[in-house]
Amino acid sequence: MGMQEPAIVVEDLHKTYGATKAVDGISFTVGLGEIFGMLGPNGAGKSTTIEIVEGLRVADSGVVTVLGLKQPRAARAIKSRIGIQLQTTSLYPRLTVTEILDLFHQFYPNRQTLSTEQLISMVDLSEKKDTRSKQLSGGQKQRLSVALAMVNDPDIVFLDEPTTGMDPQARRALWDVVEGLKRQGKTILLTTHYMEEAEQLCDRVAIVDHGHVIEVGSPRELVQRHFSEIAISFQAPDGADGYQALAGASHAVREEGKVTVYSNDAPRTMAALLERESVNGGALRDLNVHSATLEDVFLKLTGRALRD
């Protein structure tokens, strides 16, 4: 069996808005059946990139291939094969969940679609099937928009910040839905600025900042590539410095009031840290010891925190 063609290929994408270079040479590949995440803070260029791949925007330059077809020339053909989850809170506010799904079926005349019943149970909205969309909660509206993205039983599903503004329960409910999609063999491209989301869901992650892809790899790979160390973080007053000189420490990063010391020998570094603080008469606040996460990777690679 030969190599399967990738689901998405993005080559050297560029897009400028006025004075802002939103996308500055982004390239990546998404394989069939994987969940691929673009992780980065707001304004990193993730949404613009995904919109270009979806065909909602046109790039200034670069090549985008989706399921072997090129954007934007084959946009119409691509649209019938992909599902796009967009946050529209006011799509037909007075139609019920069932009515909206039925309507969207009409937009895919040439395609085998999933029935409205299947879609409703897939996103766990059975109790709300006759509820008007404006009466749904935020989390329920997001699940409806995922259902809408699935009407045409797409090969690729695009999710743009799918759990923004959701409470932890709703977030987990949505993650279950996404994992269910993967089990069905769908390819998923999502953007997020939540580290846990990327770690939980994604097979591979591209770290994006300022319009660039900085690194790509599975969440585990990315962490292991950069950190064999443990991270020790705490609140330190301004001016306090020199933490990387602590015993066992490899380097330290300060982000405003918070210092993170990375160490290969956590017990030794902890001891050294505590001694230093007691000598200086200070107390360590918000002390936290953890193995590195994608957040740490991001911090290390860009010098900035993932969250606003």
């Binding site: 967009l86 529209t88 006011s90 506010p93 007075r94 009515e99 309507l103 969207f104 937009f107």
Partner: protein
């Protein structure tokens, strides 16, 4: 079910389930017609309440008085003295007062021109004032001609083909009908469309393979339905409550409604194409709505406007729609031949729609 039809049904459901929109869309023209109808309709034929002050005691004034009292069917004449009648006129109990001054018969007998006086208040109803004046003039004219005693080469025999004379509500109804279609195109089209764009709905629909023309058609059919229902309400109420008599055929009326609606919906699309926000769409719609309301012959004939405004009047599409409706429904005096009305409205509709299609932004 074809996709356009599904979209149409979805749009109609969305509209009907919005009770506020439903109310305003249909209550507004109903209120207008009922208000104007109640104020301006009579029993159907307009009778003038006339006060006759005969200060003369000669044969000429006697003949004239007799003519006014018994031979002018639309005059309901009461005789009285000057002060009483003038008071009544000022109170609004009379429409006009005719004064035949002392010495009138003598002046005529002596071969000189005698002046009869007529008092009225044109501000109360300009159209009625003109009509009353011409009736009185005609009576005097008739006397003049009879006095010369020559055989007149021509005489006019007037046959009324309407069952009753034109009342103000007959004039107003077509104007209000035209106005409600204009507002359908402006406020009920432009603003909601921009709102859909602002909320990202257009974009969400654009993310599907749905062709844009189908999306627009679904919207268009819905607005057209609303326009036709509004028209039916306005015409129905005018005919049943206020005895407006529809002369033309209802098919032509329906056709004019569809044409007018499409024309103004096209204008609404054009505004939505360029307006960057809901507020801006609303503002532009108002800026277009108000001049047309007052300059297009909706509430009063355009002949009453000053001459320098004539080019403006001719440039406004509402002028042609109101004129077209007036001609078809009540047989009012045409401003333009009906084919001109149709052509101008069709032209406006096509040009606006073409420009809108070219420049519309979906995000």
């Amino acid at each position: 079910m074809p996709t356009v039809l599904s979209l149409y049904v979805a749009n109609m459901k969305e509209f009907i389930r919005d009770r506020a929109a439903l109310f305003w869309t249909f209550a507004f023209p109903i209120v207008f017609i009922v208000m104007f109808g109640a104020i301006f309709s009579g029993s159907g034929s307009h009778t003038y309440n006339v006060g006759l002050v005969n200060q003369d005691d000669g044969p000429v004034s006697a003949t004239l008085a007799n003519t006014f009292e018994h031979h002018v069917s639309s005059f309901d004449v009461k005789s009285g003295d000057f002060d009483t009648e003038m008071n009544a006129l000022k109170q609004g109990d009379l429409d006009l007062v005719i004064v035949l001054p002392a010495g009138l018969s003598q002046t005529v007998a002596a071969g000189h021109t005698a002046q009869a006086q007529m008092y009225l208040d044109p501000s109360r109803s300009p159209t009625d004032a003109q009509t009353a004046e011409s009736i009185v003039s005609a009576v005097l004219d008739g006397y003049n001609k009879a006095a010369i005693k020559a055989t007149q080469p021509l005489a006019l025999n007037v046959n009324s083909i309407t069952s009753h004379s034109l009342s103000s509500i007959d004039f107003l109804m077509p104007g209000i009908l035209a106005m409600s279609l204009m507002q359908l195109g402006l406020f009920a089209t432009a603003t909601p469309l921009v709102s859909l764009r602002e909320e990202g709905v257009l974009r969400r629909l654009g993310a599907t393979p749905l062709p844009r023309w189908q999306l627009i058609s679904g919207q268009l059919l819905m607005r057209l339905t609303i326009g036709l229902v509004q028209a039916a309400l306005i015409i129905g109420l005018s005919v049943s409550m206020f005895h407006v008599h529809i002369q033309g055929n209802y098919l032509a009326l329906a056709g004019m409604t569809v044409l007018g609606a499409l024309s103004f919906i096209g204008l609404g699309y054009l505004i939505a194409a360029f307006a960057k926000s809901v507020e801006s769409a609303s503002g532009i719609s108002s800026a277009v709505n108000f001049p047309m309301m007052f300059l297009s012959g909706v509430f009063f004939p355009v002949a009453l406007l000053p001459a320098f405004l004539a080019p403006v009047v001719k440039a406004l599409p509402l002028t042609y729609l109101a004129d077209g409706f007036r001609q078809i429904s009540v047989g009012g005096t045409p401003l333009f031949p009906i084919w001109v009305d149709v052509a101008v409205l069709a032209g406006w509709g096509i040009v606006c729609t073409a420009l809108a299609a070219r420049f519309f932004k979906w995000e």
